[in-house]
Amino acid sequence: MSDEISLPAETAARRLTLNMGPQHPSTHGVLRMVLELDGETVVRAEPEIGFLHTGIEKECEQKFYHQVVTLTDRVDYLAPLSNNLCYCLAVEKLLGLEVPPLARWMRVMLTELTRLNSHLVWLGTHALDIGAMSVFLYCFREREEILRIFEMFSGQRMMTSYFRIGGLALEPPRGWHHAVRRFIETFPSRLDEYEELLTRNPIWLRRTKGIAVVPLEDLIELGVTGPMLRAAGLAWDIRKAEPYSDYDKFDFEIPTRTEGDVYARYQVRLEEMRQSTRIVRQALEGMPSGRHVADAPGIVLPDREKMKTEMEALIYHFKIVTEGFRVPPGEVYQAVESPRGELAYYVVSDGGNKPWRVYMRTPSFGNLQALPAMIEGGLIADVVAALGSMDFVLGDVDR
C-alpha cells in the first residue's frame, strides 16, 4: 500500500545525536555534551567545555603577587578558600616564608568549613537532580550558617580572599569560636537527618547503585582525583600524603569504599563531612594564640594602628600597595586536597613583582575528562546521576 510507513533500517538509522547543554539544569554551569544515543543507551559522549573561560591565568600575570589572591577565589567559586590557600602556600614556598601557628590552624579550620560548604552544595543539588527536593532545602539551610561564619571572618560570604601571603587578611573576629562551636555542635545531627532521607531510601538506591562505575586503574589513567578515587578504593588524600599547613597535627581518617559507583561516592563525601567536622572541632579546641601574620615587613601589610604612628610602617604600606614585592626566581608546584580532588598551583617567578606564570591544575578539569568513560554504555537517565556524582564546577574547569 502507498501509505505504508517504511520502518528505518537497523541500528545505524536509530542512532540519535542529542545536545545536552550548554544550558541544562544538571550541569550546574555551562557544559555542553554531545550524546549519541541508541534508544535510551548512550553510545558515545563528547563533552565540550570552555563556555566559562575568562583567561584568569593571563590576568594573574598582570597583577602583583598579593592582588592575585582575589582572582583565585573566582576559579572554584564553591571552594574559594581552598584556592586562596593553595596559591598562598605556593608563593610562601617561593619566598621561603613561614606563617605563624595561629594562621596555619585558622587556615585548616576555614578550609575544612569550605569543604563542608562545597559538599553541602553538592549533596543538595545532586539529590535535587535525582528528584529529592527537600534535601536541597536542608543543605542550603546549613550552608547559610557556614556563609555567615565566613562573613564574620572576612566580610564576604563567598569571595572571601581571607588568606593572604604571609598569613590572614584580618585578625580573627571577636566571638568567632562561639559561632563555629554553635555550628559544629548541631551539624552532626543534621548529617544524620540527610542520611535518614537518602541512605536507605529505595528510590535513591536504585538511581545510584551500580551506576557510572569505572575501574580504579582507568580513573588514575584518566587523571581523576579526590573523592571519586577514594570511592573506588584508593586511600589517597593529599592532606595525609603531603601534609601542608599543619594537617599532620590533626587526627582524621580517609574514608574509602570499593564499589566505585555513584552511591559509593555519596557515602565517601558524607563521611568526609563527618571527618571535616572532627578537624574543625580539633582546630577550635587547640587553636594556638599569637599573631595572625608572619613578621615580614616588606610582604605583609602593616597594622592600621602602626601606620598612623610609625613612619616606617607607612612607607612599607605604600611600597607594598604601589609596587608589590619581589619574589626570588624559581618555580613551585603546590598541591592541596580541595573538596573536588587535587588542586595544584604552578607558580613561576622570574624575580619580579608579578608572577611570570600561574598555572592552575584544577580538579574539575582532570575529573571531567573521565565523563565519557562513566556514561558511555549507560542509560541517558543515568547521565544526570553520573554528572552529579562527579561534583565539578565549570568555573574550575574553564578558568
Binding site: 570552555g50 591565568e57 590576568e59 604552578y346 606564570r357 582532570g366 575528562q369
Partner: protein, 163 residues
C-alpha cells in the same frame, strides 16, 4: 650536567642509564625535582617513567619565556602514587617546533595537550584530536603567549592599546 644531588636520585640514575642522551639537565630546588628532557625523547622517557611507577600524570602546561630563545617550556608534572614522589619534566622548544604527544602513555594527557595547543600554540605530534578546547573553534590567536596583549586583539580597547 646533572648535579651530584640529582645523580644520586634513584629515578634519575635509572633514567640516565637507560637512555643517556635524554636527560639534558636537572635541578633540585625547594624540595622539587626538575629534569630537562630532550624534546625528541619525551615519549620514551614518559613511557619508561610510567613503568617505573609514575602511573599518574598530574598536569601538562607550558611557560612562554618570550623574548628569550628557545621561548617555550612544556612542563609535565608526574606523580608516583605508590612511593608518593612527584617529578617535573621540562622540554624547551622554539616557536615553530612541535613535540611528540604523550596521550598514548597517559590518557589524561589528551585534554592537557589540547589546552596547551589552544593557549600557547604548541603542536603535539600524534595527538588523536588536537582541537581547541577552551576557546572557540574559529579563534586564531594563542592568548597565553607573552606577545598577546591582555585586552585581546580583535575586541580590545584600541585606544588604550595605542596610548
Amino acid at each position: 650536567m646533572l648535579s651530584r644531588v640529582l645523580a644520586n636520585h634513584p629515578v634519575v640514575a635509572e633514567l640516565a642509564a637507560q637512555d643517556p642522551g635524554a636527560l639534558l639537565d636537572g635541578k633540585l630546588d625547594r624540595g622539587e625535582t626538575t629534569l630537562i628532557v630532550a624534546p625528541a625523547r619525551i615519549r620514551e622517557v614518559c613511557q619508561f617513567l610510567k613503568q617505573r611507577g609514575f602511573t599518574r600524570l598530574s598536569s601538562i602546561t607550558a611557560v612562554d619565556w618570550y623574548p628569550a630563545e628557545p621561548r617555550f617550556e612544556v612542563v609535565y608534572h608526574l606523580h608516583n602514587l605508590g612511593e608518593n614522589v612527584r617529578l617535573r619534566l621540562k622540554c624547551r622548544l622554539t616557536e615553530n617546533e612541535s613535540i611528540a604527544s604523550v596521550s598514548a602513555v597517559w590518557r589524561a594527557a589528551n585534554w592537557y595537550e589540547r589546552e596547551v595547543w589552544d593557549l600557547f600554540g604548541i603542536r603535539f605530534d600524534g595527538h588523536p584530536n588536537l582541537r581547541r578546547i577552551l576557546l572557540p573553534e574559529d579563534w586564531t590567536d594563542h592568548p597565553l603567549r607573552k606577545d598577546f596583549p591582555v585586552h585581546g586583539r580583535r575586541y580590545g580597547y584600541a585606544r588604550e592599546e595605542a596610548g
